[in-house]
Symmetry: C3
Subunit: 352 residues, 3 copies
């Protein structure tokens, strides 16, 4: 879609890395080793794929300076995967959307729309809302009243952002996601019938957060549901009311986080993990896919399982579980040996 | 957002509870003990938080009459949490939406819209549909043909209600939810290729149901998928075709209920629970989060696990599972002792 | 909704099966044995329900030729369930949508819309997109730029299909589903902060695929995320970037498939299954509901569990797990017997 091109020297400067090879080599894109062509830059993130580098048609490659025997034009990086991401960003543009307000968009008269924001077809922006500079609101997005969306955001088609929620700068929200639905809060009478506890809080999404498709982030009962700066959330994730997620965490698809959970910074939750309500998960915790967190977790732990336990303990228990049939057999053999011993000793006794 | 206020006496009357303290104290909202200010009403739902009450700035508090030593202005309730919910409802209004049909809404000529209903921007209401009195249909909602929505409902932005489905009174449906998608029904030929079984039934949602964001409720193959009166459903829940859910049940986020399951009344399903097809789950059953229900469940049981078993049994088995390494060690020790006994007895035998 | 009718003879011809009974019997629909009336066709897919056939009011029935003692008008089929599906299709029409472009639809001037396609109210079709013959795009659907939708497709309300994705012929996509959201790809710096890897690939959905409500199918990082011909996907399913799914597979609700997974043909995944990244699952594999796939799976296997193991092995291990309390008791008894033996032998020793 894009027609951008850079020389290898320009890329080295833009990425802040050392170049080895022809300064004027023209690069028109980034691709994996097996697919990149002579005008593309590729990358060797893991030295074990070096044979793929040898057979690659890529015109240039990003490599770690310690990789021996690379004679192809190259950019040297201590973190080739990171440099690849930054290089690909140079070539990438989000889907086109003209600056200004599409004639079919419905925008409240008192909404503040930055002059260089772009609002697509059939968008709605409610009263008191504001849309920041350079932000793109794609078609069919519903922005309710008093919502704030910061600068340079991408709000993809069919997203819903509900009353009063606040979105920071450079936030990306993918299609179908709902920000600010009511939390799941009810009081029960003595017959077990539920009455709704009004959910009067909001959702705050800090800068540089990305949220995948068809997620649900509930507003707080009172106060704020918060997603910390730089955190990345995959598709179909449930974030309940009053959850607080720290900075730079990573939450994989179909995770469910119950109400009033506090997650630290740099937490990683694998796919389909569930966290019970009111728990605290410390900084740097990593939880394996499909685990269930039933107790608070101190910082730095690696857990897995249902319920989750430390990673090593889980593997030991699992090994024992698989060994159960053998344990049963062993138990049966021991019983027979004890039977025999008792019989023998009985005979002895008699013989005495 | 709201500017409502009541005196403590007015609140006591509206809530049907006893007041102790100044009748004319003005209350402008409801909040938790740590956050409520001098013009707000708070609540002590659990006596163990009584120290928070002492340090709270709340102007008044809802307490159980048995709590000793409360001298703050107060409302006495046998169920303070319920009374708090009802009090908060007095101050809460759903997001504003003017009565009438927004000029950008697309409404079929033969659709019946109650004069005091509100249809937001870019809403669609199909042929033969009807929208009841006081109901609010927020922006971007898609109501297909022949759908019935009752009175005093809140249908939040971007909800989809498909052909012929029937929604009762006072129903709340949150953004992104789909009511009446086709059930997952196919016949296979001898090559394992699927052909679609047309899904010709509907979904019926009874009065006072609330459904969260980004759920999917499939229409029946033939007949009706039904969600019983007063049942509350959280976000991202899957309800397959021909499911019948009883009254006043509670279904937490990311639950999946397979086709033709019958759930009783007052059932509680924890988050991420899955229920296999064609099962019956009795009244009052409670299933722990992330459990898998593989067999029908008699009324009144508490189950958990994958597959789910009675709660107490699960805890006992789990304790044994964690004790497996110790059992292995014990087994090894016993084997050595039996080895020694056999050797000893062998020597005895020889000595004899 | 439909007013179609056929004679029994017409149905036999359309379905390519043998008729027994009056050729002119008029059939106006298909229904289950307990609900079908005298002008409806029912079916006996499983001989164990034969007593229901006897009490059914159905005017005619589809049965296997081997079922004895059926004297009702009937169609004979070696696969009655398949024939029922095909018969029901004869009576079924998708929700009505007039051919042509609704006046409130927003269609880019260079989009190609087949003359007999139908675009509903408030639809968006972006630049360079094309919509095939006989395809119905229901209200509120968002088709982004350069998307291709084939012939005879049904794209239900509120679906989002993003830039450049390609949809085959006779594809059905249910409401709320998102095709072509960005894959979850980030590079981390040495501080654990993430930067986005632009997702420049697309999604290709082959002919005769059906995808349920509120699913998310991510575009590839580079290249293609592909869903093979004839595959059927239920609601709330997550399909990550670069996944390849073979033909005629069946994926039940709330499954999550991680990035770069390759699924074979005729694979069946039960509800809530999770598959870890970069694995290969062979042709004909069947995975039980709620399982976690942590390793690649050779063709033809039946697995279940967390982590998944062969079906029979899982049942054996589960039986042992339930027997753990008994094993503990047995171990305790053996220990006492060994205690006693040692004591006895000690006494013997002394006595000697």
């Amino acid at each position: 879609m894009t027609k951008k091109e850079y020389t290898l020297q320009q890329m080295a400067e833009l990425l802040g890395v050392e170049r080895q090879g022809p300064a004027n080599l023209v690069i028109r894109g980034v691709g994996p080793l097996q697919a990149a062509g002579p005008d593309q830059l590729s990358f060797l993130a893991n030295p074990k794929y070096k044979s793929q580098l040898e057979s690659s048609r890529a015109g240039a490659v990003i490599v770690h300076p310690s990789v021996p025997g690379v004679d192809r034009p190259r950019l040297l990086s201590l973190n080739p995967y990171w440099t690849m991401a930054k290089a690909a960003q140079l070539f990438h543009e989000p889907p086109d959307l003209p600056v200004g307000v599409h004639p079919t968009a419905v925008v409240a008269p008192d909404a503040r729309i930055a002059p260089d924001a772009a609002l697509g077809p059939l968008v709605h922006v409610g009263p008191g809302a504001s849309i920041g500079s350079g932000t793109r609101i794609y078609g069919h997005v519903h922005i309710a009243g008093n919502v704030t969306v910061g600068d340079q955001c991408l709000i993809h088609p069919n997203v819903t952002i509900l009353d009063g929620c606040r979105i920071g700068d450079r936030v990306i929200i993918h299609s179908g996601t709902v920000i600010g639905s009511d939390g799941f809060g009810f009081a029960q009478d003595d017959q077990g019938r539920s009455t709704k506890i009004p959910q009067t809080g909001i959702v705050v999404i800090e800068d540089d957060v990305e949220i995948g498709a068809n997620c649900a982030v509930d507003r707080a009962t009172f106060g704020v549901t918060r997603i910390g700066r730089g955190t990345k959330i995959d598709n179909l994730v449930q974030i309940a009311h009053n959850v607080e997620i720290g900075e730079h965490s990573i939450i994989v698809a179909q995770v469910g986080i119950s109400g009033s959970v506090t997650l630290g910074k740099h937490v990683i939750l694998g796919g389909q993990v569930g966290i019970a309500g009111h728990l605290t998960v410390g900084d740097g915790v990593r939880i394996g896919a499909k685990s269930a967190i039933a107790h608070s977790v101190p910082p730095g732990q690696d857990l897995m399982g249902i319920p989750a336990i430390p990673h090593k303990e889980w593997f030991r228990n699992y090994a024992n579980w698989k060994r159960l049939p053998r344990m049963r057999d062993e138990l049966a053999r021991l019983r027979k040996r004890v039977d025999a011993l008792e019989k023998e000793l009985g005979r002895h006794g008699k013989d005495d």
